[in-house]
Symmetry: C2
Subunit: 432 residues, 2 copies
């Protein structure tokens, strides 16, 4: 117990010190000091009021409380299970390369020289697994995370959903040129009606959606309240289910004109999948991925107040089960001789979505079927989520990195200057 008593734990600390880091002009407790076991969140029966992380007080997504929350989401919100089946967890070969990897040095995007192990603290890592040629070569847990505990995937969830959507397209169950209105009568007459399935898969609908985490009236928070993730107040009300929220939206441009990253496209995509298959996202995920690859623990998904699963950010799973999914994708959908995902679906994802000269998407990245495609020297593509969640696949390095984190800043831009070069340095080392 150190460092916290002088601070209001729900807000950034006021002054920079040896135990803080500055992001966007604000100071936050550093990776070691903000460790939940140091902070004592939710310790005691009941925990003292000032150590509680709760839905009602709406502090569970604040830093540093979220360092506890992201490993305990089901204790805060209703969830639906994604069953692992009866087979027991599939076996991982392992070959410990921790000493070599820990001491790996690299230069971050700001020109700072760093060591691999220290960089994990700098980026508020909760857990990391590195797989090389199908073997675990590195595995570490920090903070509130343990091997058997599911951690929030945030938008990494989207890449599970996008992979399943790409699978249904390749199988012919869904046609990517058909419109949302064709599949969902409920969205006829709404902004989504004429968007094609492919456009929502690639976040190219023209639907307007504001993302400002500091503005409680922005689209992201209105959506979150519709999901049941945020408490309502008299002033902050609005639609009470995802499907009701999606019907309220309007367009800011033509469909297909530009990439705009927005969770609502993912929810529409998954809604179409549910309608066509007659299964919820949880059921599709369980049947096509969780059970066949032998996940060792159940995963879970948030459900909205109508029981709809949230496929754009709702998954929690263990780090090892995330790594298993990464291996499945690295192996182009083949799992011990069973083609669970069509190889053509993985090839299509890796091809990237659109011209990299398109000014509407991030530099040197494209987005296809809910995956970020880098086109770097090891052909990496990634699933990314707020606070530093990441599933990185580097085919040419035969490497998968699964990583959970609880960074004070949501956007990937906060940890990317370190995490990006760190992972690339690792790929180069393993290749060499």
């Amino acid at each position: 117990m150190r460092g916290i008593d002088m601070f209001n734990p729900a807000t950034p600390v006021k002054t920079q010190s040896a135990n803080t880091r500055e992001f966007k002009g604000r100071c936050y407790l550093d990776g070691r000091t903000s460790d939940p076991s140091e902070q004592g969140w939710m310790c005691g029966s009941p925990p003292p009021v000032e150590k509680r992380v709760t839905f009602e007080s709406d502090n569970f997504l604040e830093f540093p409380q979220l360092r506890w929350s992201l490993s305990h989401m089901r204790e805060l919100l209703p969830t639906v299970n994604v069953w692992r089946g009866r087979g027991g967890g599939s076996h991982f070969e392992s070959e410990d390369k921790a000493p070599e990897i820990d001491s790996l040095e690299f230069t971050d995007l700001d020109g700072c020289e760093r060591r691999f192990d220290e960089a994990l603290y700098e980026t508020y890592t909760d857990g990391i697994i590195v797989m090389h040629r199908g073997r675990i070569v590195y595995e570490r847990y920090f903070g509130a995370l343990e091997r058997h505990l599911p951690h929030a995937c945030h938008s990494v969830t989207k890449s599970y959903a996008g992979t399943l959507a790409a699978t249904l397209v390749q199988e012919g169950t869904l046609e990517e040129t058909k419109t949302v209105g064709y599949y969902l009568p409920e969205l006829r007459g709404t902004a989504f009606e004429d968007a094609t399935f492919r456009q929502v898969m690639d976040m190219r609908s023209g639907v307007s959606f504001t993302v400002d985490y500091d503005d409680p009236y922005s689209g992201i928070w209105e959506f979150s309240r519709a999901c049941g993730w945020r408490p309502r107040t008299k002033d902050l009300d609005g639609p009470r289910t995802i499907s009701d929220y999606l019907r309220t939206m309007s367009c800011e441009g033509g469909h297909g004109e530009a990439f705009a990253y927005k969770i609502v496209d993912t929810e529409v995509m998954s809604w179409v999948m549910a309608r066509v298959t007659g299964q919820s996202f949880a059921q599709i995920l369980e049947e096509r991925i969780w059970r066949p690859i032998g996940c060792e623990e159940d995963g879970y998904l948030f459900v909205d107040p109508a029981g709809m699963t949230v496929s754009g950010a709702g998954l929690s799973c263990t780090l090892r089960d995330l790594a298993r999914f990464g291996e499945l994708i690295r192996r182009e959908g083949d799992w011990n001789g069973k083609q669970l995902i069509p190889a053509t679906a993985v090839h299509d994802i890796r091809s990237g979505g659109y011209s990299k000269s398109d000014v509407s998407h991030p530099r040197e990245l494209s987005y296809r079927s809910q995956w970020w495609v880098t086109n770097n020297e090891v052909d990496s593509f990634e699933a990314r989520g707020l606070q530093g969640q990441r599933l990185h696949i580097a085919p040419k390095a035969e490497m998968v990195v699964a990583r959970f984190a609880s960074h004070p800043i949501g956007e990937s831009s906060a940890n990317e200057p370190i995490t990006g070069p760190q992972i690339l340095a690792l790929a180069r080392t393993l290749c060499g």
Copy 2:
């Protein structure tokens, strides 16, 4: 889909017909017609409004919706996991006696002749396992329940908690003659202060607690709102955590004077356990029971808004894992050579709690350490929960019956006239 369209599904049906049963002067859909798959609860993406079972609408504990809810509690409320560990489910020997058991005939307490299999529908059974000499001889699932799905245990949870309390007493970790106030400074100056640990274990505190399921202001609903199980309204507010609620209570009699079945005694008992061990009820349950007996699925517990586990009614688990616990108790705490629960703790439970001439408790039953003790011809003792949950141990018949149900009427008195004689007939058959 039959039978429901003409009714308001949230209320009992108006007129008796071939598809209804009458209880307490009201008609309800019968066991077959109220099957959730027939009713279509929560089917569709999203389910149509009239088929939704939700927390917000407060219909999830109404009949017939609860036939779906009791197998899906985590989708409605926040929960904490009770991990099964990595060992995989422990093996059950089995010997199918279904034909013999299904056709078993018995006379219910109203003098009606019944068959075993038909009686399961009459009592709204969701699942039943019969074990004899450690082997599964009968196993059936109905309605929304499947082998791998956890079902609400309701007050059967209390018997898990009471067994652990009895264990801690036998081990000397807790002293049953010490008072609640001795262990919990927070309850000094409250109605619970001078009650002994043994008195709360046996529901003999003098604390006043009203249970009227039809009155939203009664103790049981105020407690439920404090747990976060029921929506709040402007008129229906009150304490917002279990521990806050317990501090508001008053006495109606002296401690130890009379038995009065009330969940608040269980919560105080578990709070003491948590304080003394430094572990939550979920952690104690996982460490001492769930993992050692090789449960095949994780269980889960409700948590209140402060993250406290609800030990009086909060557990959901699979039917097989409930049966495992029953076997552990039938074997007097021995699990394949490991004494997980002291045999003396089980002997003490079986001895019953107090004189059966005590007019304050039900006829021919006594209550000890949160178990109902029958003293019938096969020395049965039971864990019981609302809507027909039951774990029945008949030592002289070497029999365990684990049973989940979703009866329209909460109180055990509704299904007991059939279930009691049904289980006793089974015990006699297996003995013979």
